[in-house]
């Protein structure tokens, strides 16, 4: 892996990208919840590979998550209802951050909460940690009864939780939006107006599977979030629509798996991309996606990602 350069050259294009005040050496991130806190994937992926590490959701106190079964494979995708099981912000600060610190990769902490105050509490607690460079507010998890998506489907509450966090932290604020709404651009504009520095698009699509032999829902939570290649066209469409309506950066995700997937999101308007379910399919997916971006730039003669972003919107 070559070090990023400030100025690209047709044979060595620059992969650096900028999300607010955060400069990333490359635009590829793990999608929250699929990469744990990094340690689990260490036999195959170094945290240094990523432009930044996005952690599994962190809440003020430990959450047990949903009862199993929590996952179910579907055509070109999977349903999950993990329920944001996590060890809470104290254990996160001591265990997970001390592991990630050594790798000197920017850490983006995904925050989950049941109330507005809980989001603020996590941001306050983790703001003093220097390796934490940004917070990603998860207002879009479909698998928990309180908080999560409840904030993400209404523009007013999405704006309220977004507006509450900057009082507790000066760090970059990303808001992860749900696709389970009538018009995602309305929510995106609301969180931009409320002070978000960037948005992540998209979280999982609400779905369901029924076990016809047991005659019951396959997942114990009954419904779950659909991810994987099956949702990629929906995600590209939402990035495309939202790019036209907001001026803050978009982190695009949803079914990214192959070498050509990331350029598609960037052409639609994404500043960075994230890999989620693709990690489960192949631990080497991030390498393939990074190589795919680089090869695309070389083949098409682009020097920097800025030249590509949103290009599909031309007249």
């Amino acid at each position: 892996m070559t070090e990023p350069e400030d100025h690209g050259h047709p044979s060595r294009p620059s992969l650096t990208t900028q999300i607010g005040n955060l400069t990333l050496k490359n635009p590829v991130l793990p999608a929250s919840g699929t990469y744990g806190y990094g340690e689990e994937w260490l036999p195959f992926i170094s945290p240094q590979l990523w432009g930044a590490v996005v952690t599994k959701g962190v809440s003020p106190t430990p959450w047990p998550g949903n009862e199993p079964p929590r996952i179910c494979e579907t055509p070109s995708g999977m349903l999950n209802a993990i329920g944001l099981q996590n060890l809470g912000m104290e254990a996160f600060a001591h265990k997970a951050l001390s592991f990630l610190r050594e790798y000197r990769t920017p850490v983006i902490v995904n925050i989950v909460g049941k109330t507005l105050e809980e989001y603020v509490a996590v941001a306050e607690r983790l703001t003093p940690c220097p390796e934490v460079r940004a917070f990603e507010l998860n207002i879009s998890c479909p698998n928990v009864k309180e908080g999560g998506i409840a904030f993400g489907v209404d523009p007013k509450s999405a704006a309220a939780v977004t507006a509450a966090v900057p009082a507790a932290t000066e760090k970059l604020l990303i808001v992860k939006l749900s696709p389970n709404v009538t018009d995602v651009t309305v929510i995106a504009q609301a969180v931009e107006a409320a002070g978000a520095d960037a948005i992540s698009l998209i979280n999982t699509l609400l779905g369901m599977s029924i076990d016809i032999k047991r005659r019951r829902p396959t997942l114990s939570n009954q419904v779950g979030g659909l991810s994987g290649p099956a949702i990629k066209p929906v995600a590209v469409r939402m990035v495309w629509q939202t790019y036209k309506k907001i001026s803050i950066p978009i982190i695009g995700m949803g079914g990214i798996l192959t070498a050509t997937d990331a350029p598609e999101f960037i052409l639609a308007g994404a500043t960075a991309v994230a890999i989620g379910t693709g990690l489960f399919v192949d631990p080497l997916t991030p390498v393939k996606v990074l190589d795919g971006i680089r090869e695309y730039m070389i083949a098409e003669g682009f020097n920097s990602l800025d030249e590509i972003r949103g290009l599909a919107h031309r007249g």
């Binding site: 998550g65 199993p68 994987g228 489960f280």
Partner: protein
């Protein structure tokens, strides 16, 4: 053994060197994966990418227990039952093709060396990891007495019986639901009789949940320790996604890396 970290696992494109039907719906798959063969311990499993290399159908790998690993030849064996689309596709793979394999994964069985009489309790397709365990223990602790309790729906569900005989373990007790072979009924019934009379001082079980629950109750009633191997639907196979958790006395734990082998007293088994 080596200075590789405890969670060392390999992600390899392995050659399929054997695939045979052992009985209706049951198959044995052998792949050439020397690094996995070298590290594999009984109770561990691997994530097999069922489709051709590069295919994303099915999207997720299938976790299958290792039934045998040969360090000399580098071969790793798996026995599986066709239960759905993924395992049906796995049974259609062919000799000389390649298969992407991630392994070995998980906590193996750890039988205390002081154990004098080990009962292995196998139900249906839960047998393969116990075969690997018995084989390994015969080599490492030849003095340890081993009794196999092996139940299935019919005689066609009882596999590798000549291979089990050849291991030279103390005793083999079979049971079938239809009485076509061995005891007519559940394998836990002869086990229950023996726990009261024999010298069994440790249990290792793998099989369907109702069997594991019965084994757990019997062992706890008799005050005998043991370990149980669980199975679950999995996505990542490395402990990150939290998709495969089971209930334990200390909350949800991951079947893939905290298990699949758990202490018998630790897991809470319900439907």
């Amino acid at each position: 053994m080596s200075n590789e970290p405890q969670n060392a696992a390999y992600y390899v494109d392995a050659e399929i060197v054997g695939l045979r039907e052992l009985a209706p719906a049951y198959f044995e798959l052998r792949v050439l994966a020397p690094d996995i063969a070298r590290l594999a311990r009984p109770g561990q499993f691997a994530q097999l990418r069922v489709g051709q290399t590069g295919s994303i159908d099915p999207l997720l790998a299938r976790p299958i227990s290792i039934s045998h690993a040969d360090r000399a030849s580098g071969e790793v064996s798996f026995i599986f039952k066709v239960v759905g689309r993924g395992t049906a596709m796995l049974a259609e793979r062919a000799h000389n093709e390649h298969m992407v394999v991630l392994g070995p994964i998980g906590h193996p069985f750890e039988i205390p060396p002081a154990v004098t009489h080990l009962a292995l309790v196998a139900g249906g397709v839960g047998m393969p990891p116990l075969f690997f365990l018995a084989e390994t223990l015969r080599r490492e602790y030849p003095e340890m007495a081993i009794t196999l309790y092996y139940g299935g729906r019919t005689q066609d569900d009882l596999l590798l019986l000549p291979e089990w005989e050849a291991l030279g373990i103390a005793r083999i007790v079979l049971a079938t639901d239809d009485g076509s072979r061995g005891y007519h009924g559940l394998i836990t019934e002869p086990l229950q009789c023996d726990l009261g009379q024999k010298s069994i001082d440790f249990l290792a079980g793998c099989g369907p949940r109702p069997m594991l629950r019965a084994v757990q109750k019997l062992a706890q009633a008799a005050g005998i320790p043991g370990q149980l191997s669980l199975e679950a639907r999995m996505a990542c196979g490395v402990g990150a996604c939290l998709g495969c958790v089971c209930g334990t006395i200390s909350g949800h734990r991951r079947v893939c890396v905290d298990g699949p082998v758990f202490s018998l007293d630790e897991v809470t088994i319900d439907d």
